[in-house]
């Protein structure tokens, strides 16, 4: 089989990218490993989705359904229950090995790939929480799936480590399903979740938020099920302060300690990595350092709003289409976009003048909460943009657009946030 574009992943990102590329008339195959399109949105049954894209508030499944319907109307080819095992770069494109129970293993080729593989949850192992290793210590997203899709409760006495949005949402969900939610511990002195989730998921139900606290001990029973945890306050270098131990008898510890872009399928490809986003570097067309290999959504950078995922992926889809139409877009010259003061990261990482017709949508996160800031974008001595911003927080990704006509070849672009 040979396709113009293969989209890997049928969640919010893949659906939007595929629909956008199909609108341009491309021949597309979308591959989804689960038995359903829509991805993680299917288990995010809470509301708050779609305000940007649809100007209306939807739940996750409703938002997904909008795109799934459009996807089906667009008559795009897709495979469900199919896992991509391997990607190879070949001349004029890619060769993909995929596998499923029904079709067995197959090689398919394409001119361009859009990676929309989402992200996975950081686990206990990745942050080395001390203690026993019983069951009941589980990532919030897994517990969410068991609760909302399968209809099963991991436990009835719950503590949550990490104030990421999924953790907050799950605090409320478990409470509403009759569990006792004893608290949320956050290592940082500020919450990592959206304010509305702090208010509507914790404060509404009097669930305490312990800032500058972490879990320092885990006890399992003889059968290897969680029995209790200990939390401790941490100092400025995040080290536990002796004497601040507090024990909670719980059967569940939900982990909401961060999401990591899932880019393992690109391990054997010559892509340039970004240690900050834990993903790969892209130009303004969402193209990686491998020509024709595009990436978008949470596999490029972890978003806080799905609306941004959809819009970003749509742009990536259009670019992939343009790549196929042009047969091959040779990079003629590119300049770097650098994250300056107070910026955790910035995407894209390059402006490539081969894609000069594309607008450059820049997204970034700050390293800390800033009340009043001056956002400046400069190229050498030339200022491209200067804008006052209020209330920039790491939990909310910031977006702005650069006019390509302003950008010249030569020196790099610097994105800077000054505290006012």
């Amino acid at each position: 089989m040979n396709k113009e574009i293969i989209v890997i992943g049928g969640g919010a990102s893949g659906l939007a990218a595929a629909i956008a590329a199909k609108e341009e008339g491309r021949d597309i195959l979308l591959i989804e490993k689960e038995s359903k399109l829509g991805g993680i949105l299917n288990q995010c049954i809470h509301n708050g989705f779609g305000l940007e894209v649809f100007k209306e508030e939807y739940t996750g499944p409703e938002y997904a359904n909008k795109y799934v319907q459009k996807f089906h109307e667009s008559k795009i080819d897709f495979l469900l229950d199919t896992t991509v095992l391997h990607i190879d770069k070949i001349e004029n494109g890619f060769e993909i090995i995929l596998s499923s129970k029904v079709t067995g293993m197959k090689k398919v080729t394409c001119q361009s790939i859009i990676m929309s593989t989402g992200c996975y949850e950081r686990t206990r192992g990745s942050i080395s929480i001390p203690g026993d290793r019983p069951y009941g210590v589980i990532t919030a997203g897994s517990a969410q799936r068991y609760l909302n899709i399968d209809g099963y409760m991991i436990g009835k006495k719950v503590f949550i480590l990490g104030s990421g949005d999924i953790g907050l949402i799950m605090a409320r969900r478990m409470y509403l399903e009759g569990a006792e939610v004893l608290g949320v511990a956050e290592l940082m002195p500020y919450s990592n979740g959206l304010t509305r989730n702090i208010v509507q998921c914790l404060n509404d139900y009097n669930i305490p938020l312990y800032l500058s606290h972490t879990v320092t001990e885990i006890h399992g029973n003889d059968d290897n099920r969680l029995e209790s945890i200990v939390i401790q306050e941490v100092n400025q270098s995040y080290q536990p302060i002796p004497g601040t131990e507090r024990e909670f008898s719980v059967d569940t510890l939900l982990l909401s300690i961060g999401l990591v872009p899932d880019i393992t399928l690109m391990d054997n490809l010559d892509v340039e990595h970004d240690l900050k986003t834990k993903s790969v570097k892209v130009n303004q067309a969402y193209e990686t350092s491998v020509p024709g290999l595009f990436i978008c959504g949470n596999s490029l950078q972890v978003h806080d709003l799905v609306d941004n995922v959809s819009m970003e992926s749509e742009r990536a889809g259009k670019c992939a289409s343009e790549f196929v139409l042009a047969k091959k877009i040779e990079s003629n010259e590119s300049i770097k976009i650098k994250a300056g003061n107070n910026l955790l990261f910035v995407t894209p990482h390059y402006v490539d003048f081969a894609w000069a017709s594309r607008e450059t949508v820049i997204q970034f996160r700050s390293t800390s909460k800033i009340e009043k800031a001056l956002l400046t974008v400069s190229q050498g001595d030339k200022e491209l943009l200067s804008k006052r911003k209020s209330f920039i927080v790491p939990a909310e990704m910031e977006t702005f657009t650069l006019d390509m006509n302003q950008i010249e070849k030569g020196s790099d672009i610097l994105v800077n946030l000054e505290v006012l």
Binding site: E62, N65, T195, I198, N203, D204, I392
Partner: protein
């Protein structure tokens, strides 16, 4: 008794205080006053949850209140939702419980239940 609120209308998240006399302080803009007044007099929330189905492959289907309900009724609404069972194929937006607890809100499916 002094009451504390965090305004959620913008990312700033103003910590707003209301004292015994009803004096509102800590809000950066006027919208904060409106937010706190609503929260104090008639706070409402959209409730999202799941209901049982009789289908083994889709044991639960997600639902929501189609308009916000009074915050004080959340647990009562949950109880009604927990009692509901879907026993026929239904579409997204279909009503499972009409005018729940006389709130004027309906419990509607947020996912199609296709057998």
């Amino acid at each position: 008794m002094e009451k504390n609120f965090i305004c959620i209308l913008c990312p700033r998240g103003c910590r707003i205080k209301v004292d015994d006399e009803g004096t509102i302080t800590g809000n950066f803009c006027k919208r904060g006053i409106g937010y706190v007044q609503t929260e104090m007099t008639a706070p409402t929330r959209v409730v999202t949850s799941t209901v049982r189905t009789i289908y083994k492959e889709i044991p639960r289907i997600s639902v929501k209140t189609d308009i916000p309900i009074p915050k004080g009724l959340i647990m009562d609404v949950m109880q009604k939702i927990n009692e509901a069972v879907i026993d026929k194929p239904m579409a997204i937006g279909d009503i499972i419980i009409e005018n729940i607890l006389d709130t004027g809100s309906n419990i509607v499916l947020t996912k199609p239940c296709l057998k």
